[in-house]
């Protein structure tokens, strides 16, 4: 059972990374729609990872909201704007070198910390992932952030209505 979970983790993780690469650097197709579909696959793999962590609610939300609603909107926008195949941008060699160096440095640090850590070591977070426990947490310990997020959404709503409305003069 433990083994099966470990294998599943590697399968989902590898798929997530491959799909994420395909979103931004697909060698076969440069159509935005293909990228968007690969993003859906990435989201699906992430949902799988969440399930393995026993965060079932998060996994369901990931599928419903991100892979479902958000990506559908994304596709609508792409179709409405009628985007053509992306032109390959000229990347300046200086920014390429700078980007590679910083990514390499961060990767090296991650790999180093990964090797230095033994399994089971390090800080443990006590997070509950089931829906009822999450709901209780949201309305007890995390009540305040929860309420502020509602104000945040109000601001976003007012902003969007205001910016998208045509002035009548």
């Amino acid at each position: 059972m433990e083994n099966a979970q470990a294998y599943l983790f590697y399968v989902f993780a590898a798929l997530a990374v491959i799909c994420a690469i395909m979103v931004v650097a697909n060698p076969f197709s440069r159509s935005p729609v293909t990228s968007a579909m690969f993003l859906v696959l990435t989201m699906g793999c992430l949902a799988g990872l969440f399930t393995l962590l026993h965060a079932f609610f998060l996994a369901a939300v990931q599928i419903l909201v991100y892979a479902g609603a958000v990506m559908v909107l994304f596709l609508f926008v792409i179709m409405l704007l009628d985007l053509k195949e992306e032109q390959r941008r000229q990347v300046k060699s200086l920014s390429l070198v700078a980007g590679l160096v910083s990514v390499g440095a961060i990767l090296a640090i991650f790999v180093r910390s990964l090797i230095a850590t033994k399994p089971g070591e390090g800080a443990l977070a006590n997070v509950e992932g089931s829906t009822s426990k999450l709901g209780k947490l949201l309305f007890t310990q995390y009540l305040l952030p929860f309420e502020i997020v509602s104000v945040l959404l109000l601001v976003a709503m007012v902003g969007v209505v205001l910016l998208s409305k045509k002035d009548l003069k």
Binding site: I106, I109, F110, R112, S113, G122, A123, L124, A125, Q141, Y142, L143, L144, P145, I148, V149, V151, L152, L154, V155, A156, V158, G159, L162, L163, D167, K169
Partner: protein, 494 residues
């Protein structure tokens, strides 16, 4: 229900924001913009005043939900200062002709203030991030408010894209911190990190967090959005971004560094650099002071000049964070609050002149002393305070910050090199502040023709500006008024 009691000032502001929105949309449709602005500002101003009274009248000490809402005298004073800046922003925007959406404008200003207040009260990474987003999102929209000006939209887009990147960096740093310490509470993070030394992962966390907040406080080299945003945004919005949001961001940056990264300071003393957040911040501070001041000299638009001066002042304030003790915290708050008052006033003057002459280039200020004597006297006070001339508030701000940085324990005069740089650079800053005042007071002969007719100054704006100038002078003559509050709060808080 303790939440509701402790968060009562914030709750009142949210309700007032909704009330402003409702009154404007339901009752005042079809009325002239100036009347809608007047009534909306009256409601918003009364709400701000009530909130300030509530904040200054309470003496509670509380820590709710493990650091998500911390109420103590120090946070009360900082919140009251933020609400005061909001009140003045509302007053100087009443004469605005940049939008017809009065209710939305005032409501967003108030909601951004709510974000700042929660930010000030937060000692928990989750709350810090959410309130920071509430603040930023409101500011993006406020920047884009002038829909008749394409520059406003451009400024907002730049600000939004840079801000989004910055939020991603902040989130990356914060999640690493959480991963390393297993807690989102700042005090517990410091405990979790204690004894681990400078793990490379911790360095990544420090650097990305600093990058994120560097964008927020517009420190070089993350300052690129600031001049464009200040120039393109409606002037009251720019004033709000430059003042209230600075107070909240610097306070929370100092808190994260002093509490959360306690033990990971390193050292920025001359020739004895030890890795930690100090040397990284020293770099940001030095670059901001030098580049901000030198670039400001070349500006012709006063709003861009104020933007670069804001960047330079951000450098001085980072110096106060690096003092890393109570004196540094009190000095930082005194500095950022008095800087906020003076900058808000300067933007207020820009707004009036911009409305009268159509642009904000320094040439439009020619002969201001004859066209609007009271206005140019206010401008004189604000700019001299920003430059740091005694006996104005800006001088004492610089004095407190520099003495805190020099006297910081454990540094053994290590930060002296930065303080010397800061003093040299504030001498440079005189030049560009005085250049504006020269245009206003010593008009050249060729420009006298356009400088004869009087300029109409809206009453509410003039009242706000005179009050601001008065505050700047009073806080300069009696700095103990504010400093006493800050120090008392700080000592009780620790």
């Amino acid at each position: 229900m303790e939440v509701l009691k402790l968060a009562a000032p914030e709750t009142v502001l949210v309700v007032i924001a909704l009330a402003v929105l409702a009154v404007d949309l339901l009752a005042l449709r079809g009325q002239p913009v100036s009347m809608r602005f007047g009534i909306g500002a009256a409601v918003a101003g009364l709400g701000c005043a009530a909130t300030m009274l509530m904040l200054l009248g309470r003496h509670a000490h509380a820590n709710l939900f493990d650091g998500m809402l911390v109420v103590d005298p120090l946070t009360n004073v900082v919140k009251a200062a933020i609400v005061l800046l909001t009140l003045f922003t509302v007053l100087i925007s009443t004469a605005g002709k940049f939008t017809e959406h009065v209710g939305e404008y005032l409501a967003l200003i108030l909601l951004a203030t709510v974000g700042m207040m929660f930010l000030v009260s937060a000692e928990d990474l989750l709350m810090i991030f959410i309130s920071l987003e509430l603040l930023s999102l409101s500011l993006y929209v406020l920047t884009a408010f002038n829909k008749r000006n394409i520059k406003s939209a451009e400024a907002a887009l730049k600000y939004f894209l840079f801000g989004g990147m910055a939020a991603a960096f902040t989130l990356f740093g914060l999640s690493l911190l959480y991963g390393m310490s297993g807690s989102t509470n700042l005090h517990r993070i410091a405990e979790g990190l204690a004894g681990k030394g400078m793990d490379p992962l911790l360095i990544v966390a420090v650097v990305t967090t600093l990058i994120g907040f560097g964008f927020k406080v517009a420190a070089v080299p993350f300052h690129l959005w600031a001049p464009d945003a200040y120039e393109g945004a409606p002037t009251p919005s720019a004033a709000f971004i430059a003042t209230g949001s600075k107070v909240a961001s610097f306070f929370i940056l100092a808190k994260i560094m002093m509490i959360g990264f306690a033990g990971a300071e390193g050292s920025a003393a001359w020739r004895t650099f030890i890795s930690g957040w100090m040397p990284a911040m020293a770099l940001l501070a030095a670059l901001s002071m030098v580049l901000g001041n030198l670039t400001a000299i070349a500006q012709t638009s006063l709003k861009r000049l104020l933007a670069y001066s804001a960047i330079a002042h951000g450098g001085y304030m980072l110096l106060a964070v690096m003092a890393n003790n109570e004196a540094g915290m009190a000095g930082l708050l005194y500095y950022v609050i008095t800087y906020g008052l003076a900058t808000l006033g300067a933007f207020g003057v820009v707004q009036v002149v911009e409305d009268a002459t159509g642009n904000d280039s320094i040439i439009s200020f020619t002969g201001l002393s004859r066209r609007a004597p009271a206005l140019s006297l206010c401008l004189l006070v604000f700019l001299l305070s920003l430059g740091g001339i005694p006996p104005l508030a800006g001088f004492f701000g610089k004095f407190f910050v520099f003495s805190a940085a020099v006297g910081a324990d454990g540094n053994h005069l290590g930060l002296l090199w930065l303080v010397i740089l800061a003093i040299a650079m504030s001498a440079v800053s005189f030049y560009y502040y005085l250049r504006v005042l020269k245009a206003a007071y010593v008009a050249d002969g060729a420009d006298v023709t356009q400088a004869t007719n009087m300029m109409a100054v809206p009453v509410a704006t003039l009242a706000a500006l005179v009050l601001l100038a008065f505050l700047v002078v009073i806080l300069g003559c009696a700095p103990a008024l504010l400093m006493g509050l800050l120090q008392a709060g700080d000592q009780v808080g620790h």
